[in-house]
C-alpha cells in the first residue's frame, strides 16, 4: 500500500515533469510563445514562401519583402533618385524622371498592383502610382527595375491608381484633386462649375507591358480615392470610390463630410471601348511625358505627348453610374467572385457591400435616385447586397481569402476585422499596433487569393521598436489567417510610408528573376564588349570615356589630357557575366551619385572637372578580394594646356 502510494506520487511527478518539459512546444500559442517564432522562422539559407511588395510612400520607392520572415530584400527606385544604384543620376535613367513640369526627382508612391491574367496574379510586372506629379510606373518582375513611367494629364493627386483589370488590359488612374480641365487661370471659387475629375484608362501591351493612355473619362469635380477592378461576372467594370461630393475647395475636413453618402463610380469600360471604337471621343490638347527604359540599350528615352482622347459621359450614356455609399469611402474592394463591391466609408461605422447583380438589375429597371451632372445615381436600396454592421471605427480597406472571408482594417479602432462575405457576420477581430491603414493578402485583390498570411500596414509606431528619435519607420504586422481566428505573428519595420502592398507566392516570381544582363545583347551606343575596345574620344570640349570593369580593375585606369572646362562622360561597361557581381564607380568632385553597374550593363555619369590636378576614381562596391585596389587617376590640366588625350592600363 505504502509502496503503491509512493509509485503513484512518482508517476504524478513524472507526468508533471513531462508536462513542463513539453509545454514550450505545445501551449500558449499567443504572440509571445516560441511556436509563433517558429511560424515566422526561415532558417539561414532557406527562402520565404511569399514575396510582398510594399509601397514606400514618400520615399518614392517600392520595397520587396519576404513573408513570413518580414525580411527586406530590395528597395526598387521608381519615382526618386536613388544613389544606391545611381537611378535618376545616371545619364541613362535621368529621362525616366522627366515630366511636363521638367525633371522631377521625387514622388509619393502609393498603390502597387501586380499584373493579372484571367483574374489571377501572373507575376510579370508591378504597377505603381506617383501621387504628387501624376504618374504611373511599370516595374519588371524579372529585372526588378523600373521600365516605364507615364505621366497622367488633367490629373492632380493621382491617388485612385494603379489598379489593373483582370487581364491587365488596362491600368487605371483617377484624380484625387479635381482641377480645371484643361488647366486655366481662374478663381478657386469657381470650383463647382469648372473643376473636373479625370479617370484614365491606360492600355497595357500584353507582350511588352508598354503603356499608352487609351482614353480619359471626364467626371464631376469630386475627389477620386481608390479603385478596384470587376472580376469574373463583373469583368469589364472598374469601381472608383469618391469623397467630397460636396465639391468643397476649402477646409475639407469639415466641408467634405456633410453628405450622408458619397459615391462609388462604377465604370463600364467595355462600353467605353465601344464608344471609342465608334469614334465618340474628343481629342484634347494635353502635355505629358512618356518615358521608356530599354533593357538592351540600358537607356531610357522620354517623349512628350501632346494630346489625349476624352470621353464625356453626357454624350456617351451607360459608361458611368454612381453607387451611393455612406460617408467618404476610402477602399472600394471587390470579392474574388466579382459579385460584391465593398465600400469602406471611413467616417461610417458599417461597411457597405453593393451587389453587382443588383446593380445590373437596377440599371436594367431604371431604379435611379436622380443624377449628378447627368450621371445616373443608382437607388441605394436596390444595389446594396448587405452591410457589416458596427464592425469597427474608421474602415479603410478590405482584402479577401479563398474561403469566403474578408479582412477589413479600421484606422480609428486600430484593428483588423474578419467577416464572412454573404452573411456579413463578424467572425474575429484582432488589434493592430497602431492605427492600421491598408492590409494585404497575397492575391487578395484577385480571383485567386492565397490566404495564409495578411500584412497590416500601420501608420503609427510609438513604442513598438527601440526608439530612434522623433521619427520612426512605420510598422507592419503579420497575421496567420489560415485558422478560424487570426494570429499575430510578427512586427517588422517598413520603409517610407506603405500605403498599400501586393504579394504573390514566391514560385510565381522567383524562376523569372534575371541573374545578369548578357553582354552580347548590350546595345548601349557607348558599350564596350572587351578591354580591347576601351578608349577615349574628344569632340570639342566633350570627352567620352569608353571604360570597362572586370575583377579587379578599370580599363583604362590612367587618363591624361582632360582639361578644366571639359564635360567628361564616363560610359562604364561591366564585362562580368556572373550573377551578383556588380562594380561601382565614383569620381571625386562629380556632381552626381556613384553608379552601380550590373554585369553586362553600361551606365554613364557626367563629370565637369573644375580644378587642375590629378583626381582619383574608384569602385564603390566591394566586388572582390582586390576591390580596394580597384581605382584609377585622371589628370586634369588647364584649359589652354597642350597635353594630349591619352589612356593606359598597366602602362599600355
Amino acid at each position: 500500500m505504502k509502496n503503491s502510494i509512493k509509485h503513484l506520487l512518482f508517476f504524478v511527478s513524472a507526468v508533471s515533469l513531462f508536462t513542463s518539459a513539453c509545454s514550450k512546444t505545445d501551449s500558449n500559442r499567443g504572440a509571445l510563445s516560441s511556436s509563433v517564432a517558429e511560424d515566422v522562422y526561415v532558417a539561414p539559407g532557406e527562402h520565404d514562401d511569399y514575396y510582398a511588395f510594399l509601397s514606400g510612400g514618400y520615399s518614392g520607392n517600392l520595397t520587396v519583402y519576404g513573408l513570413p520572415s518580414g525580411r527586406m530584400f530590395k528597395e526598387i527606385p521608381v519615382f526618386s533618385q536613388f544613389p544606391t544604384s545611381g537611378y535618376g543620376y545616371s545619364e541613362e535613367t535621368i529621362p525616366l524622371l522627366n515630366t511636363s513640369h521638367g525633371f522631377i526627382p521625387w514622388d509619393d508612391l502609393h498603390h502597387p498592383d501586380i499584373s493579372q491574367t484571367e483574374g489571377e496574379i501572373d507575376g510579370r510586372w508591378i504597377f505603381v502610382n506617383g501621387n504628387n506629379t501624376p504618374r504611373i510606373a511599370r516595374i519588371s518582375l524579372s529585372t526588378f527595375e523600373t521600365e516605364e513611367i507615364i505621366e497622367i494629364p488633367n490629373s492632380a493627386g493621382n491617388h485612385s491608381s494603379s489598379f489593373v483589370t483582370e487581364n491587365t488590359e488596362y491600368v487605371v488612374a483617377g484624380t484625387r484633386f479635381s482641377v480645371p480641365v484643361p488647366q486655366q487661370d481662374i478663381s478657386i471659387n469657381e470650383y463647382k462649375s469648372n473643376f473636373k475629375g479625370a479617370i484614365s484608362f491606360i492600355k497595357v501591351d500584353p507582350e511588352t507591358g508598354r503603356m499608352n493612355i487609351e482614353f480619359q473619362i471626364i467626371l464631376p469635380g469630386f475627389n477620386y480615392d481608390l479603385a478596384h477592378p470587376g472580376r469574373g461576372k463583373s469583368h469589364g467594370w472598374m469601381f472608383f470610390s469618391t469623397y467630397n461630393t460636396e465639391e468643397a475647395n476649402s477646409l475639407l475636413e469639415v466641408n467634405a463630410s456633410q453628405n450622408d453618402k458619397d459615391f462609388i463610380a462604377a465604370i463600364n469600360w467595355k462600353k467605353a471601348e465601344e464608344y471609342m471604337n465608334a469614334g465618340k471621343f474628343k481629342v484634347m490638347p494635353a502635355e505629358y511625358a512618356h518615358n521608356v527604359y530599354d533593357e538592351h540599350t540600358h537607356s531610357a528615352t522620354s517623349v512628350m505627348k501632346t494630346s489625349v482622347r476624352v470621353l464625356d459621359p453626357a454624350d456617351n450614356p451607360g459608361i458611368v453610374y454612381f453607387l451611393p455609399t455612406p460617408k467618404s469611402p476610402h477602399g472600394v474592394d471587390v470579392d474574388p467572385t466579382g459579385e460584391y463591391i465593398i465600400g469602406s466609408g471611413k467616417l461610417s461605422a458599417s461597411l457597405t457591400a453593393h451587389s453587382f447583380t443588383n446593380m445590373k438589375n437596377a440599371i436594367d429597371e431604371n431604379r435611379f435616385d436622380g443624377d449628378a451632372y447627368g450621371i445616373p445615381i443608382i437607388d441605394y436600396d436596390y444595389s446594396v447586397g448587405g452591410t457589416v454592421e458596427q464592425a469597427g471605427l474608421g474602415p479603410l480597406h478590405t482584402e479577401f481569402d479563398e474561403r469566403g472571408n474578408a479582412y477589413t482594417t479600421f484606422f480609428i479602432s486600430s484593428e483588423v476585422v474578419k467577416w464572412k462575405v454573404g452573411t456579413w457576420e463578424v467572425i474575429d477581430r484582432k488589434p493592430t499596433y497602431y492605427s492600421v491603414g491598408h492590409i494585404m493578402i497575397p492575391g487578395g485583390n484577385s480571383r485567386k487569393p492565397y490566404g495564409k498570411y495578411a500584412v497590416a500596414m500601420n501608420k503609427i509606431t510609438k513604442d513598438r521598436y527601440l526608439p530612434t528619435g522623433p521619427e520612426m519607420e512605420h510598422s507592419a504586422q503579420l497575421y496567420d489567417i489560415s485558422g478560424d481566428k487570426m494570429k499575430l505573428l510578427l512586427d517588422f519595420p517598413t520603409h517610407g510610408e506603405p500605403h498599400y502592398a501586393a504579394g504573390a507566392p514566391a514560385d510565381i516570381i522567383k524562376p523569372n528573376s534575371k541573374k545578369f544582363y548578357k553582354l552580347e545583347d548590350n546595345k548601349h551606343p557607348y558599350a564596350v564588349k572587351s578591354e580591347g575596345e576601351t578608349r577615349l574620344e574628344r569632340d570639342g570640349k566633350v570627352v567620352h570615356v569608353y571604360m570597362s570593369t572586370i575583377r579587379s580593375h578599370f580599363s583604362p585606369d590612367n587618363i591624361e589630357g582632360i582639361k578644366v572646362g571639359d564635360t567628361v562622360f564616363f560610359h562604364i561597361t561591366n564585362l562580368e557575366q556572373d550573377f551578383d557581381v556588380p562594380h561601382g564607380v565614383a569620381m571625386i568632385g562629380a556632381n552626381t551619385s556613384e553608379l552601380l553597374i550590373m554585369p553586362g550593363q553600361t551606365k554613364t555619369f557626367r563629370w565637369e572637372p573644375k580644378k587642375v590636378g590629378v583626381w582619383p576614381f574608384y569602385c564603390t562596391d566591394f566586388c572582390s578580394a582586390l576591390h580596394q585596389e580597384m581605382q584609377g587617376y585622371v589628370r586634369v590640366s588647364a584649359e589652354n594646356s597642350n597635353i594630349k588625350l591619352s589612356w593606359t592600363l598597366d602602362g599600355e
Binding site: N3, H7, F10, F11, A14, V15, L17, F18, A21, C22, T25, D26, S35, E38, D39, Y41, A43, P44, G45, K515, F516, I550, R551, S552, E576, Q577, D578, F579, V581, C623, S624, A625, L626, D650
Partner: protein, 191 residues
C-alpha cells in the same frame, strides 16, 4: 523492489522522451540549419559564366585535382568572388609525384597539409599570359595565397612558373586557370 522501481522510472522517462519527440516532429518548421562546408560552392547557377571550380570539375584531365580539392574541403575558395589565378596541375602531373605522397595527402588527418599544397597553386589577382610575360621581364615573382613567392620565366614564349610549364589557359568568371604540367610543393626554396 528496487528493481521494480527502476523499471518504473525507466518507463516514465521513456514515456516523456517519446512524447516530446512526437511533439517536436509535429511542429511545423524544421529548424535544421544546413550550413554546408562547401559554402558558395553549393550555389546552383547554370547561367553565369563558369567559375574556376566548375571548369575544373568539367575537365577530364583534372580529376585528381578536383578529388584533392574536395578532400581538402576548399571548394568554396575556388568559387569565391576572387579574382584568383589558379595553376591547375593535370592528372599526369599528379602521377609524376611519388604515389605514397599523394596517398598520404589525401588522408583525412592530413587535410591541413593538403590544403596548403593546393593553396600554393592560387595567386590573388588575374594574371593572364600577358601579365605573366610582363612579370617575367620585370623579374616580378608571383605572390601566392599561401604567402610564398613563385618565380616566372619566359623561354621563347613558353611561360614557366616554378619550373612548371603552362600548357593552356582558360578564363573563368572569377579569375583565370593556367593548366600546368607540375604540382607545386611547398619547400624552403619557395619561401
Amino acid at each position: 523492489m528496487y528493481f521494480k522501481k527502476t523499471v518504473f522510472v525507466s518507463i516514465c522517462v521513456g514515456f516523456i522522451i517519446i512524447s516530446c519527440t512526437k511533439l517536436e516532429e509535429g511542429s511545423k518548421t524544421s529548424t535544421k540549419i544546413d550550413n554546408t562546408p562547401k559554402g558558395q560552392a553549393s550555389v546552383v547557377d547554370e547561367e553565369s559564366d563558369r567559375n574556376i571550380l566548375q571548369i575544373a570539375i568539367s575537365s577530364d584531365a583534372h580529376t585528381t585535382l578536383v578529388k584533392a580539392v574536395e578532400a581538402a574541403n576548399i571548394e568554396h575558395v575556388l568559387v569565391n568572388a576572387g579574382p584568383l589565378t589558379v595553376f591547375a596541375p593535370t592528372n599526369d602531373a599528379f602521377n609524376d609525384l611519388p604515389k605514397q605522397l599523394v596517398d598520404k595527402l589525401l588522408k583525412p588527418e592530413n587535410r591541413a597539409e593538403l590544403s596548403q599544397v593546393l593553396t600554393l597553386h592560387a595567386a590573388p589577382g588575374t594574371f593572364d599570359i600577358a601579365a605573366l610575360t610582363k612579370a617575367a621581364v620585370k623579374e616580378r615573382d608571383l605572390y601566392m595565397a599561401t604567402g610564398h613567392y613563385l618565380s616566372i620565366s619566359n623561354s621563347n614564349g613558353v611561360i614557366t612558373v616554378n619550373d612548371a610549364k603552362i600548357l593552356s589557359t582558360i578564363e573563368a568568371s572569377n579569375g583565370i586557370i593556367h593548366v600546368v604540367d607540375k604540382v607545386f610543393l611547398p619547400n624552403p626554396k619557395n619561401q
